[in-house]
Symmetry: C2
Subunit: 215 residues, 2 copies
């Protein structure tokens, strides 16, 4: 199944799930694709098409059962379970990542952290003891972690990614601003805020300097 | 023009630009859509189609002139100039954002930072003096900043977004895990690492526990 569904569709499912969680939190039992689309800035047709890859949800004109669709999406995405992650890079960014409550709340737990800086190794940060990067491969034999987080400088990032791959990690969340290379069976997602900024400047570039003072 | 081009296409342009920069850095003058596609995990047809929205680049079978295409993309995206940004939220995450060299290197400069914590206000972080959030709207009259970065807890994020919109910001980079609401003329991009994780678990969920120890 995974082969046939476009990656852009998979990328939208967590966004749908997050929006449905909000509707659920607001006590809503049923939501239609129109409302969901308005919330997310996606057309209702797109939502219906994306969900149609996974079978039939909701009846024509009746909308979706919020709780049931949410459960289905969680099943599809594989987030009904907890996931263990290892972090490489415990600088300022790595510390913010370790302290980010959003991960644990959503079932993603950082179980080990690694850094090369002797001034950081053996420190306990957010309850995790930092180990030397040289110990990563050996440590991974004892840890059942499927996801690696890369928070090292760009110059070291590809080496760290190679090491994570060699250690058996199957998904990598990469914060370093590089075009990461990994074998086809390893998923990589980049967190690059500059890419997000650059896709917004497209829309605001013609507003003219000083437009922020128009009011 | 902005109205006709799908947002997913615009979102891919910065990724193409980043890959082209790498080819340029490696001394390449010409690159074809096949190579670019392999680098990025996008089909060559997709790349050609995306670029065709903006006119003709490169000759059939000859590939793209790296430098020229890069310049064109920078023009299209509006990143031939510098952009000023204001940050709201100077906790651990906000500090990591202020210290992130990638922004400045790509022409995005944080010119002001705001926080509500009296223990942080008046501190200088990475050369920026933190001001109280209550001063934001007034301060924005003197700052020609078009972009706001939101790094406050989820519970405060929508209020901060509303305040930024009221202050004339036209693009918002939102780090808080909320479905942010903004008027149609204000662009919002979420940086939510959990969404990225959840779209990867789709692919690795059937590998089975302990697969990371297979080697």
């Amino acid at each position: 199944m995974a082969e046939e569904i476009p990656e852009v569709v998979i990328d939208r499912l967590p966004i749908y799930a997050r929006a449905l969680s909000l509707f659920a939190a607001n006590g809503r039992d049923v939501v239609n694709s129109q409302e969901l689309g308005e919330q997310l800035g996606v057309t209702p047709a797109q939502i219906r098409k994306d969900l149609s890859y996974f079978g039939r949800f909701g009846k024509q004109g009746r909308g979706y059962n919020v709780k049931r669709l949410l459960e289905e999406l969680h099943q599809i995405l594989g987030i009904t379970r907890e996931w263990s992650m290892v972090l490489v890079g415990v600088g300022q960014l790595g510390r913010a990542i370790l302290g980010y409550a959003g991960f644990t709340r959503q079932g993603f737990r950082i179980v080990a952290a690694f850094d090369d800086d002797p001034g950081v190794v053996a420190d306990t940060v957010e309850g995790v003891v930092v180990k030397p990067v040289a110990d990563l491969e050996a440590a991974m034999r004892d840890i059942d972690a499927q996801i690696g987080i890369v928070a090292v400088p760009a110059s070291q990032a590809q080496d760290v990614i190679d090491l994570l791959v060699k250690s058996g990690v199957k998904a990598i969340l990469n914060y370093a601003p590089i075009a990461a290379q990994a074998p086809p069976d390893v998923r990589v997602k980049d967190i690059d805020p500059v890419l997000a900024l650059q896709s917004m400047t497209f829309y605001i570039k013609d507003l003219g300097a000083g437009s922020s003072q128009a009011k």
